[in-house]
């Protein structure tokens, strides 16, 4: 059975986010032998259309307007609803990003449908689309299906593999004009606090520090390792509470949930609230002075030792490795 599926692509700092390619792959699973249509909304987003197609979209619809330069739920919902009214899809996929989380419930409420948020797996079983998503912050999973109406989901970054980019693929790109009116929330200013380009929730490698890092300066060691590995830095609540770093880095039950390929926990004891935010990572490395630390229970590899000694050595080793590979 084929469905027509709309997939919202999302750009950040001038580039499509990786989760958008994952969302296309998810959309194709829902579509079956139907059609997967990329939707791009923004001030000037047409340039990304080709890339969405190369990652599997059959065609792309853009909505461009100066009022869409920054995300607001009012403006983006007007743009998306216009596409929805025109295409009448049977499925919708967004990334479970700040934007996707904010916009998806509004769209679901407007059209009166269910919404599966933060899915980590999508499979078709006997013509029915079956979703898996973590609940209780990853301490359990639930398997869901949609009773009726549009199949609508947001997908967690880093969990559904994107398709290989195929530069030979082509498809139709069209645009629709949407009058954007009645914006009830206005963005006055955006303050960038995240320093580097790699977003914590999308990072393939996360280096996280806890109380054991002891100071703001201690986090420099983590930053250096993260830079060599092209990863992002995170933290436990303890490190944030102690002001070693910004709360935006917090991983855990309150804070961000991450599922990178590699999670390196340095000086983190492994409180259950922290584990909730990272235990589904693919490979976990723990570095801690205390051999009894709880973090070792979820770690694939553990080093009992002083992080101030281990981290610089790791950075050095990976630097050597990078030099060889390059």
């Amino acid at each position: 059975m084929g469905r027509k599926v709309l997939v919202l692509g999302e750009a950040r700092e001038g580039q499509l986010r990786n989760v958008s390619f994952e969302a296309i792959a998810a959309g194709k699973k829902i579509a079956g032998d139907g059609e997967t249509i990329g939707v791009l909304i923004g001030e000037s987003v047409g340039k990304h259309a080709e890339e969405l197609i190369q990652y599997g979209a059959d065609r792309v619809i853009t909505v461009e307007d100066v009022q869409l330069a920054q995300y607001t739920s009012d403006a983006y919902s007007q743009a998306f609803m216009a596409v929805l009214d025109e295409e009448k899809p049977e499925g919708i996929v967004f990334g479970h990003t700040a934007l996707g989380k904010d916009l998806s419930p509004k769209i679901a409420a407007k059209i009166g449908v269910g919404l599966v948020s933060d899915a980590t797996s999508i499979e078709e079983e006997a013509g029915e689309v079956v979703f898996i998503r973590p609940i209780y912050s990853g301490k359990a999973f639930e398997k869901l299906s949609v009773r009726d109406g549009i199949v609508f989901a947001t997908i967690r970054p880093n969990n559904i593999a994107p398709l290989e980019q195929d530069k030979a693929r082509s498809g139709e790109v069209s645009s629709i004009e949407v009058p954007i009116t009645n914006l009830r929330t206005i963005i006055k200013e955006v303050v960038r606090k995240t320093s580097k380009g790699v977003d914590l929730s999308e990072a393939k490698v996360v280096i996280a520090g806890g109380r054991g890092v002891k100071s703001e300066e201690g986090f420099d060691l983590l930053n250096e390792l993260a830079e060599v590995l092209g990863g992002a830095v995170g933290a436990s609540r303890g490190a944030c509470d102690a002001d070693y770093c910004n709360y935006s880095l917090q991983i855990g039950q309150t804070g961000k949930v991450v599922t990178p390929d590699l999670y390196i926990a340095a000086g983190i004891s492994g409180a259950i609230q922290h584990l909730a935010g990272m235990s589904n990572s693919k490979v976990i490395v723990a570095i801690n002075k205390d051999p009894e630390a709880n973090i070792f229970k979820v770690a694939d590899y553990g080093i009992v030792g002083d992080l101030f000694e281990v981290l610089p050595m790791l950075t050095e080793e990976f630097e050597k490795l990078r030099a060889v590979v390059n």
């Binding site: 990003t97 269910g114 209780y136 999973f141 109406g149 955006v190 606090k193 709360y247 590899y301 080793e317």
Partner: protein
């Protein structure tokens, strides 16, 4: 100001989850106010103390949620409403909860509605925005600061670590993010007073809703625990040997580098 807080009773963050017959077992577990909703209760009390008015906490759930509503009253909320769905609904989803809350709030003329950014059990973060859409009012999610000046509202929100300054106006619904405030503990006099504060209990009938109107759109097929991870490996030898071994393992065994 007429301030409403949407509140959910959830498992304590310390609780282990166990499952029997495809359901999460609640017996013996500790329950709390969803931590993100607790920020909402605290902020509501502060807004009332600065601007006057009344704080109403509303929960959809069973009889047991009364305890968390009493806690919110003890913190300083003025009144509580429990929309008890125990007898009417076997299962519900975010559509269900939002529809019930929207029906309840539709004639209440709330100036500001505070909800959690996400509940730590279901973790979908849908109900707040769905209710705002149902009521036809704007919403701002993951807020870390809010100031009200007459009808004008200035908000700072967290966007994946960056922060946005937003200007909007009442009425508005906001969802609370960590960093908004430090919720107070109920004081002993607060707890005593809470016992006398009004806690109204209503059912779907009182909202002119029947089961069919709020039937879940999503069907739960199964609930299960994550697969047990094989025991990890503690590396041995001196630190530099361990580091070498780790790099090798990450490259050749785990293949993540």
């Amino acid at each position: 100001m007429n301030i409403v807080v949407l509140l959910k009773r959830t498992f304590d963050t310390e609780e282990k989850i166990s499952i029997a017959n495809g359901q999460v077992q609640e017996e013996g577990a500790e329950f709390i106010i969803n931590p993100y909703d607790e920020y909402g209760v605290e902020e509501a009390i502060r807004l009332r103390d600065n601007h006057g008015g009344e704080v109403t906490v509303v929960s959809v759930g069973g009889e047991e949620a009364e305890k968390q509503l009493r806690t919110a009253l003890a913190m300083g909320a003025d009144k509580a409403v429990l929309i008890n769905t125990e007898d009417d609904l076997d299962e519900g989803d975010q559509f269900t909860t939002a529809k019930i809350l929207t029906s309840y709030l539709t004639d209440k003329n709330a100036d500001i509605i505070l909800a959690g950014n996400v509940a730590i059990d279901g973790g979908s973060g849908q109900v707040g925005p769905r209710v705002a859409e149902g009521l036809g009012i704007p919403y701002v999610t993951t807020i870390t600061q809010i100031e009200v000046n007459g009808k004008a509202v200035s908000i700072t929100r967290d966007v994946e670590g960056d922060s946005e300054s937003i200007q909007t106006s009442l009425p508005v619904l906001v969802t609370c993010q960590q960093g908004l405030n430090e919720p107070r503990y109920p004081s002993l006099p607060g707890i005593m007073k809470a016992k006398k504060k009004p806690l109204e209990e209503i059912e779907l009938d009182d909202l002119d809703l029947d089961e069919e109107d709020v039937r879940a759109k999503i069907k739960t097929l199964d609930i299960y625990l994550p697969p047990q991870k094989a025991a990890g490996r503690l590396l041995e030898g001196d630190i530099s040997a361990q580091v070498d071994e780790l790099v090798g393992l990450l490259r050749n065994e785990a293949k993540v580098i």
